[in-house]
Symmetry: C2
Subunit: 236 residues, 2 copies
DNA sequence: GTCACTTAATGACCATCAGTCATTTTAATT
DNA sequence: AATTAAAATGACTGATGGTCATTAAGTGAC
């Protein structure tokens, strides 16, 4: 039925419209400080309507989180289309992640919120949380693929278990990006300020450290001088 | 005046009593779900009294955060009393951190909350936040000291800037501990579950990676086989 | 064209909770 | 015993997440 289709489209459009409004409000002042009424007003709808589309405030924020992780994963997926060695892919994944955090601090903050949620039932019952989880899984799989490619093309030391190593690099990268995020949003971080640490050199050193740790001798030179291709990580 | 002293002691004792109650409640069900009335009841005081000792809920949670970071830093400080090489110290710092997160997930969660706060003014105006910041600074300084010791005793490659490297290892360690925390509290983490990743092996691989990256050849053997001394990280 | 019915939207209303403040209680001092 | 200062109280307020009875719009059968 054409009418059914149109209705479904309109419903989806309204959902997106609410999400757009919610992002605008929440990215501007944080979830804690954002009210549902304010979001409703920005979306030019009544508060009750918001609850027809999202079970509650957390669910709405989880939907935003999913949007962010979709965007990020799209960026990751794109680099596998190109012709890169394994070790190059590792570097690119890191660069994309860092770029993403810089361009989309609001989404990154949503990621952090998602990870700090501890009501397991709430997470298991949420479609959005499930998607986020699938995306995280996929992201780590990208990392595994990059490592496997590297172990085959001889650019990455194959004495590691690629799965373990993927999770490891993923986690560490996460730590680095968190610091980068904190600097970016002006979070008071005395140690960084006093030492005049720049995010870029931090990341370069990270790559150097990881590179030295996992690259084969042959790949090391190439790793150190890899081009820093810019990848678009903002949403369209 | 003796009476003045006694009063000051009593006031401090009451403050601690409130914090004890607050920890019990908040560690049990998270800040979001904990109410000030509940905390007051647990402390056997009225709600108004809580506000005589803490400006607001955030400030109370920041005080708890400070407690946690004090405990953690004490643990770090202790290892420098012993006789360790630089590279051993790096391993120990990591082990202590991981132990701390396992034994005190509530404090770690408080750290995460602290780091996700973005009202800069609120942070700058809080005595507690200042202490947390000083502690973080000190912790990174411990790391720097360990690296410098290692560069002097020849166990750590001295081609890195110790400050940069310290922040780097600190950040990565933070990422690893976050994953460990998430596993510990049962946060749904599909990727980890599916791959059957164990926190311990993750950490060992992390040490291996970092070790390979920063250790001198001479130190590598020793690094790989360092004893896993248990350090007490729970509060007394 | 109209009427019955379904779906979407509304906003007044409710419950909860952070934070306040006038009042009371307790302790110290004279 | 009276006075004063400090500590504690809990009723109260305002804000906000979430609900639900009611209204409005759209649809299709006749």
């Amino acid at each position: 039925m054409g009418i059914e289709d149109r209705k479904a489209r309109e419903k989806e459009k309204r959902r997106e419209q609410i999400l757009d409004a919610a992002e605008e409000v929440i990215f501007g002042k944080g979830i804690e400080q954002s009210t549902m009424s304010e979001i409703a007003e920005k979306a030019e709808l009544s508060k009750g309507t918001i609850y027809l589309y999202f079970k509650n405030k957390n669910e709405l924020y989880l939907a935003i989180t999913q949007r962010g992780s979709d965007i990020l994963n799209d960026c990751f997926a794109r680099i596998f289309a190109g012709d890169h060695t394994g070790i190059e892919l590792i570097r690119l994944i890191g660069e994309i992640y860092l770029d993403f955090v810089r361009s989309n601090p609001g989404y990154f903050k949503a990621f952090q919120f998602y990870e700090s949620m501890n009501d397991v039932d709430e997470l298991r019952n949420s479609e959005y949380a499930q998607c986020c989880e699938d995306n995280r899984c996929e992201a780590i799989n990208f990392m595994i693929r990059a490592l496997q490619i590297g172990m085959q093309d001889g650019t990455i030391d194959d004495s590691y278990d690629p799965k373990e190593l993927a999770v490891l690099i993923w986690s560490s990268t996460r730590g680095i990006t968190t610091v980068s995020y904190m600097k970016g949003v002006g979070h008071y971080f005395k140690a960084l300020d006093e030492m005049e640490i720049k995010t870029d050199s931090l990341f370069e050193n990270f790559l150097k450290l990881v590179g030295t740790g996992i690259a084969t001798e042959k790949a090391r030179k190439q790793w150190m001088t890899a081009s820093h291709k810019k990848i678009e990580t903002t949403k369209d």
